[in-house]
Amino acid sequence: MDITGIPFFLAVSFGGAFLAYLMNFAHRFLRNAVVLLTVSASAALLFWLGDETFSMEMGGFVLTLGKTPYSLFFAGIVALLAVPTVLFSFTYMAKEERPAMYYLNLLITIAAMYGILFSLDLLSLFIFWEIMTWSSFLLTIHKGGNATKAGVKYFLYSAAGAYAILFSVVILYNMSGSLLIEDVARSFVLQNPLMQLMLAGTLLFGFSVKAGLMPMHGWAPDAYAESPAPFTALFSGALSKMGIFGMGMVLYQIFLQSPFSLPVRELLAWAGGITSALATLRAIQQTDAKRLLAYSSVAQLGYIVMGLALGTPLSMMAALFITLLHGVFKAMLFFAVGAVYFRTGLTDLNELRGLIRRMPVSFLTVLMAIISLANIPPLGGFVGKWLLYESLIQSDHYFLVIVAFFSSTASFLYVYRLIFSIFLGQEEKEFEHVKEVPFLTMQLPMLALAAVTFITGIFPGIVLAPISSALTYLGFPIQHDMWSMSMLFNEWGNRMNLLAMISVIGTVFLTGFTILYFYRMRRTRYVTTKDIHTSGEVPTENENLTYAINFYQPFERAAHPVLSKSIRAWIDWIGRSVSELGDFLRHIYTGDGQTYAWYVVLFLTFMLAAGSWIL
């Protein structure tokens, strides 16, 4: 087998999963070695992947695999997150049960994501899509308890999406006689516009479920909150991006020529904007770190959809850039929250506090990640947001700019709550024993990803180069005057030199730090605890005076009219109604033999009556 071919690549990825499962019976070190080797080998093989396509027949369908610059970019994201994820799992999952199942499903999920990306036809895409869904379902329910419910919910939303996709795929196959995306695209334009709208609509709906776009985001908060932390990083960072990948493919490879393309994209952009605003408001309400991050993920995915749907070269660049960056900093956040959970067993923001001196590396990770998330220079998030704003303004979507600006500013609130509640505030006696997590398996993945946010902030060109070739593949003209290695330009001739910016910020930071160090921070200053709430009484030493409970109560009161209506509740209502219908239908089967006999007789009478009527 050709080792630069995609079959070999997938064979390594899937084969490693089963080998790791078997090795679990030998020794856990052997298993871990196989797991790590598998993900690193597939990450390395990405660089040597050849250009040939590969076809095989399966069940009367021709399946075709091959790489495109567009898929290679996403594969890069998967590889970038997969290696830290398995590394982080080694210690994190050591205490958990059924490790063999965990690694098996984790590696299958990763391999299936590669499979999705390297599918050149819709059926193999769907096959890998479903494999990814069930393996990630099994990962989500790994902990049992509430996770089971969350997992089933995740699967049902996903199934609704997946079957919407399959519906379209079957019809498209019937129309074009081929499953290849390019053939499908060619016969797609010959259909009547309404048919085009329906087919593309169902496809987009299906992919948007995985991306957690409102109104189909209901699975995300529960599934992200309940799945094991290392996997959540991959789940939110890479797996949900498969929806973005699919939407991009549908919008620009299949649907672009349709007369409905523009209105649908406008609608999607708005859906993305509303998603980002509402999910940000929800995130601010959360008191559980993982749920907070979950809603934050939904919000960030909303940005990406916004950029993706606008469809200008600049907005696409922004969307893909945020896709990568969100993967990186959200993985950092989930890792850090996982690290805190690993040491304290808590994710509740009302109970955690003052861990900064106990877990400094986790603190640093969260700090770097939220700087990136809040799009503050000099880290990578800034570049993405800059590109997005500029593209929104250029394409005259001023109202969307306001929405984006609103949610990006509001996101300060929840990231501040996250870092304050966990790491700042008064130290507690109960956390005295807490130590920082082990370096090699847990700190290293966090720090490595933190380095990525730093580097992409200064040299975004490293990421913009593959994005440009991906966009060129999708048919967007990317001129080289839009970016260079560390500079961003816009059409009004302004330019932003990131290298200069980091120099300025670095200098200011270093100077300030030096001054502070020499004049203020030479020795720790102890301040006496005083609080007006103590009404003059001197509080005891361990009395907690910095509460993080009801952190944003005024805000919540203000946002109440928006947040009191829940789209999730509506979808749950649909689910409940179907379930009640099922319960009602169950009563057709009364358990009484005479009733059943009557059914038979009535049915026969009906048939004969209908027959004679037709004659």
């Binding site: 009367g60 169950r586 026969l604 004679s612």
Partner: protein, 488 residues
């Protein structure tokens, strides 16, 4: 070897019947024969399949009983479709026997195995025979052994379920017999091929009535809504190995009969569309009814009805792709549902509830994995067998332009996923203690064969392509059927 002892399709029916007859006698010699003889019988029948089925794929084998040529004599028609079903039934019989070896402890075992072999023999007879009255007789053999097996455990509710089954089943027999009598009075023949050529002697209105009678008669056994009231009770009352056979064998035989009779005798567009619609209705109602089941066997029973509904909906298209898809769905269902029934029984015993699955992932990891595999396969997740069967159903519907049907099938699949995954999720709750009792080897072996089937078809769906295509052609090509039988 063939010269000395010519194999014939008759052996499919004769061998199990003979063995069933001999079983009480050999039981007098040694009790261990009771367990061994059925296995040997099924093995022999499988050997017959291995020899005859490849021949049938080339040209159908038409066997005249006692040398009387049709239309006067009874003939067996062993074509690709009948061969497929006969082989499937024998294989399932063997697997269920293997499983029962250690899992079936309820005495009297000799009667259990006698009934089991009669069930398989009757169902195989139904798919083999070329004579409509003979079809009725085999249907009765199947049904009577099915009634007795339903009530085999001798408890009140089992007896009640068995009684309901008899009540509805005898209606089925009466209607089918009535239909046969009417046809005979007009045409004077009972041979299916001969009947097909003489159907123009029957006035149209009578044909419609007879079709109605057959539809209800076979429809009862094929679990078409609203004729399937007996099924949930019977499935949950019968011992699990028998339920596996109900799902895998009796339904399939009745469905075969319905398809064969409809296509040969009533090939109107209306009758086919009607079958398709009934299939869809069955699918939707059964899947929804399963959603609230706490009893696992009832849940599987409703799911079974739903799966059969899916096969019927595809069958009703009566295109080559539609029949292909229906056959695929039936084979998939026979394997997967069989495995699910057997796994649940091995895991949680005869009265399994949804709660009984809690924490099984720790107590019985292999069985839990098998249940998960079965659940995924029945939902139709790739890369398991159910995916390809469901996909073939969908593409067949797509080819006839029935996009609404595709949407209905997919929507019910979400419902199906809901209750199967809820059950799967319970396996992995962290409750209970690890390692509790071992599952006997014979049961694991039987389940492993079925699991291997699921994976094999899942990864190599092309391997059964030829079988299914030939089966579909065999069913649809009525001219070939009648000419083949009446060539002399």
């Amino acid at each position: 070897m063939p010269e000395l002892f010519p194999l014939s399709p008759v052996h499919y029916v004769a061998a199990p019947l003979l063995a069933a007859f001999l079983l009480p006698l050999v039981a007098k010699l040694s009790r261990s024969f009771i367990k061994i003889l059925p296995g040997l019988t099924f093995l022999y029948v499988l050997y017959v399949s291995a020899v005859l089925y490849p021949q049938a794929l080339q040209a159908p084998i038409i066997e005249q009983i006692a040398g009387w040529a049709p239309p006067l004599g009874i003939n067996l028609y062993y074509g690709p479709m009948a061969g497929l079903f006969a082989s499937l039934f024998s294989a399932l019989g063997f697997i269920v026997w293997l499983y029962s070896l250690t899992q079936m402890k309820q005495e009297p075992l000799d009667r259990f195995y006698i009934l089991l072999m009669m069930l398989v023999a009757g169902a195989t007879g139904m798919v083999l025979t070329g004579d409509i009255f003979n079809l009725f007789v085999f249907m009765e053999i199947t049904a009577i052994s099915a009634y007795s097996l339903t009530a085999f455990l001798r408890e009140d509710d089992k007896a009640e379920a068995g009684f309901k089954y008899i009540l509805i089943g005898s209606l089925a027999s009466a209607f089918v017999l009535l239909g046969i009598a009417i046809l005979y009075s007009y045409t004077g023949t009972l041979n299916l091929a001969d009947l097909a050529l003489n159907m123009d002697k029957v006035p149209l209105s009578v044909r419609v009535i007879v079709f109605g009678l057959f539809l209800v008669g076979f429809g009862i056994e094929a679990e078409i809504f609203p004729l399937n009231g007996w099924a949930p009770d019977a499935y949950s009352a019968a011992p699990a190995p028998v339920s596996a056979l109900f799902a895998g064998i009796t339904v399939k035989a009745a469905l075969y009969a319905l398809a064969r009779v409809t296509i040969l005798l009533f090939p109107f567009a209306g009758s086919m569309a009607l079958i398709s619609i009934l299939g869809l209705v069955t699918l939707v109602i059964s899947e929804l009814a399963a959603l609230h089941q706490k009893n696992l066997f009832r849940m599987l029973a409703y799911s079974s009805m739903g799966q059969v509904g899916l096969a019927i909906a595809a069958l009703g298209l009566f295109t080559a792709e539609g029949v292909y898809a229906a056959l695929f769905a039936m084979i998939n269902h026979a394997i997967v549902k069989g495995m699910l029934f057997l796994t649940v029984f091995a895991m949680a015993g005869g009265s399994a509830t949804l709660d009984g699955l809690n924490g099984m992932g720790r107590k019985k990891p292999i069985l839990s994995l098998l249940f998960t595999l079965g659940a995924f396969a029945i939902i139709g997740l790739p890369p398991f067998s159910g995916f390809w069967s469901k996909l073939s159903v969908l593409t067949a519907m797509g080819q006839t332009g029935n996009y609404a049907m595709i949407a209905i099938v997919l929507a019910t699949t979400i419902v199906e996923a809901a209750y199967f995954l809820r059950a799967t999720g319970r396996l992995y709750l962290s409750e209970g203690n690890p390692a509790e009792g071992k599952t006997p080897l014979s049961a694991i072996a039987a389940l492993a064969v079925l699991a291997a089937g699921i994976l094999w078809i899942g990864f190599f769906p092309g391997s059964i392509d030829e079988t299914l295509t030939a089966g579909a052609q065999d069913l649809l090509d009525t001219a070939k059927y009648t000419e083949g039988v009446l060539k002399d």
